[in-house]
């Protein structure tokens, strides 16, 4: 009698454990956190200048590095404090100032080609990560200001140093605040 009761109790417990275990296992495979989703979320907060000041070759690689825990959130000078705060909120970390070793936060700037000095070498065209420079061999080049992110990556390849960084013209609606 007693033995049956014990067996029944053990059997019930084992059955419950097996069912719960099965459910948990299924849930774990079904709802696994997607690492790509986190990278996507981080990438969406970065300014997309693709300037590589963070020592990664673009915003998405940096987002991957943050997601993997390789890099901290303080490496983005163009994003500045706003970006660090947004990242800190997303990743539940303490916000901190941008590490000055990666560059200083500046007002937004765009590249401007001095068209009189441009020799049409086309070296800056592939350097632009967002294809914002138009031109061709031995023809004058120009920067589409609205699409320039101010990454400065076109400065180094220019053999005649005819590209300068200038402050971005004010956005239209800023005027309405005056």
């Amino acid at each position: 009698m007693n033995a049956t009761a014990i067996l029944a109790a053990v059997g019930t417990m084992a059955a419950i454990a097996a069912i719960l275990g099965g459910v948990l296992g299924w849930v774990a495979t079904r709802l696994r956190s997607d690492p790509d989703a986190l990278v996507e979320q981080i990438d969406a907060l970065l300014p997309q200048t693709q300037c590589a000041q963070c020592r990664y070759p673009g915003c998405r690689p940096y987002a991957e590095a943050i997601a993997n825990g390789e890099a901290d959130i303080d490496r983005c000078p163009p994003g500045g404090e706003t970006t660090v705060r947004a990242l800190a909120a997303l990743l539940d970390r303490e916000p901190r100032p941008v590490d000055p070793q990666y560059g200083a936060t500046q007002p937004p700037r765009v590249a401007l080609i001095d068209e009189d000095r441009c020799i049409g070498c086309a070296l800056c065209l592939p350097a632009c990560p967002v294809d914002a420079i138009v031109g061709a061999q031995r023809l004058m080049h120009t920067v589409i200001a609205a699409q320039c992110t101010g990454c400065e990556l076109c400065l180094a390849p220019c053999p005649v140093d005819c590209i300068a960084m200038v402050e971005r013209a004010g956005d239209q609606p800023g005027r309405a605040a005056a």
Partner: protein, 479 residues
């Protein structure tokens, strides 16, 4: 239906004592590309070019209507000048005083034209909302036509306590208002028209009623509304007349209504009578800072100083210049700010006209602002969210539905400049959105760039492989 708003003391009796006086065109006109709608028209003239009366000097673009020169003369420059919206690029024209017209003025046979041709005609004349928003009238009419709006609502509910230019216009040019209404009914394809006028303007009501009777048009009716601020704003006015609520992110045509100012109607009437584009407007010059407060008709581009001179000059009490009314206007500096299509009033206020309310004190959460808000918002909650720049909370409490009427400022016992803070918060959000959009576009371009580089590398590798294989095939003894 219960109307929300404030009963304010009116200050319009002095300017209304005199008829509208015409200000002569100034020696130099400043035509702002942004006539008050927040968007720039596209300049079509170069410095040094000669223009005539009625020449189009800037073309319509988005929310900006075309701009025409009210005088003949030479374009001096296109440069940033102070305007009622801070600073805007302006076309500066030196008036040669000859008033050479573009063509002889001839009436337009509008009864024979169909709606879309009329709308094109109205667009070409640079007609813009003269109530203050300066939004292109043709765009609004086209939207209404596309949406099949049944009601044309003419806004004569001028609710700001200092402004009376629409009242003066309705008194003196009621026939123009009614003719403009008929033209816009045809353009928008609407079936009926309501002219909404507040009950503190009995002369204007009588004049418009008489003009409607004279025109014997059964589609047009005059509706008298209580004088309540801010009934002159589009959303509250539509709600008061029809009982329908305009979605805050939508347009009145969605509820079957198209709203136009009575001044705009009069401008449309002028267009069909004389084929004249919008080159002047009626505005109120008032306040204790000016000798003879009056309603004036001035060319677009006339500096404010000339308006004051035409009204007898300053009294010496002028402490603040405001473009627009005391509740929704914007402060302006100096006498050089030009008249724009959106400028309905220049208030030269003494300290007594607009007593300072002292520094802002902390919010005591009394809720008075929520009781008066015509948009049904909770300004006290918005205030907290704006202070911490919490965009999620600002969106939750409906910042985008704020019509910036200033009722909350008026009743706030702590004298908090709520509307100014909401305006600034909106501005910040707008800039952040722009930045966000820019980033999204940059990312797309970056991804395309990367993909192209990868494809090129792959193509080169394959070309190299094929070349090597061919070389091997041709010379098997290579190994």
């Amino acid at each position: 239906m219960k109307l929300r708003g404030l009963r304010l003391d009116s200050h319009t009796s002095r300017p209304l004592e005199r008829p509208i006086r015409v200000v002569p065109p100034p020696a130099t006109l400043v035509l702002a590309l942004d006539q008050g709608s927040g968007a720039d028209a596209l300049p079509m003239v170069r410095p040094g070019e000669a223009v005539r009366v009625g020449s189009a000097v800037a073309a319509a673009s988005g929310a900006a209507a075309a701009v025409h020169s009210p005088v003949s003369g030479i374009v001096r420059e296109i440069a940033a000048r102070p305007t009622s919206r801070g600073a805007s690029r302006c076309i500066v024209i030196d008036n040669d005083g000859r008033d050479d017209p573009m063509a002889t003025a001839a009436p337009i046979d509008w009864r024979a034209m169909d709606g879309s041709a009329l709308i094109e005609c109205i667009a070409a004349a640079g007609t813009a909302g003269l109530g203050g928003a300066a939004f292109p009238t043709a765009t609004k009419l086209a939207l209404a036509r596309a949406a099949g709006a049944e009601l044309l609502l003419l806004n004569g509910a001028e609710c700001e306590p200092w402004i009376c230019c629409d009242a003066a216009l309705m008194r003196e040019r009621a026939a123009d208002v009614v003719l403009g209404a008929q033209v816009m009914l045809a353009a928008a394809g609407a079936q009926r028209c309501v002219v909404a006028i507040e009950d503190d303007k009995p002369e204007a009501i009588a004049a418009v009623e008489a003009a409607v009777r004279a025109a014997t048009d059964a589609r047009i009716e005059v509706r008298v509304l209580p004088a309540l601020f801010p009934l002159g704003a589009e959303g509250p006015l539509v709600a008061a007349v029809t009982g329908r609520e305009v979605p805050h992110d939508g347009w009145p045509p969605q509820v079957g209504v198209v709203c136009q100012n009575v001044g705009t109607a009069a401008a449309v009437a002028r267009l069909v009578q004389d084929d004249r584009p919008v080159m002047s407007r009626v505005l109120t010059v008032t306040g204790s800072g000016v000798q003879q407060p009056a309603n004036v008709e001035a060319c677009i581009g006339t500096p404010v100083g000339q308006l004051v001179a035409a009204c007898g000059g300053y009294t010496g009490e002028c402490a603040r210049r405001i473009a627009g009314g005391s509740l929704t206007g914007r402060s302006i500096e100096g006498d050089d700010v030009p008249v724009t299509k959106g400028m309905n009033c220049v208030l030269l206020a003494s300290d007594a006209d607009l007593p300072s309310r002292g520094p802002a004190r902390p919010c005591i959460r009394c809720g008075d602002c929520a009781a008066v808000c015509p948009a049904g918002l909770l300004p006290q909650q918005l205030h907290v969210a704006a202070r911490s720049d919490d965009s999620a909370a600002l969106a939750r409490f409906g910042l985008s539905a704020c019509i910036e009427c200033g009722c909350c400022d008026y009743v706030c016992p702590s004298a908090i400049p709520l509307t100014a803070r909401f305006r600034a918060a909106r501005e910040r959000q707008h800039l952040a959105d722009l930045e966000r959009r820019r980033a999204i576009e940059a990312r797309a371009r970056y991804e395309r760039h990367q993909r192209r580089l990868a494809e090129q590398a792959e193509a080169e590798r394959q070309a190299f492989d094929t070349a090597r294989r061919r070389a091997r095939g041709a010379d098997p003894g290579d190994r």
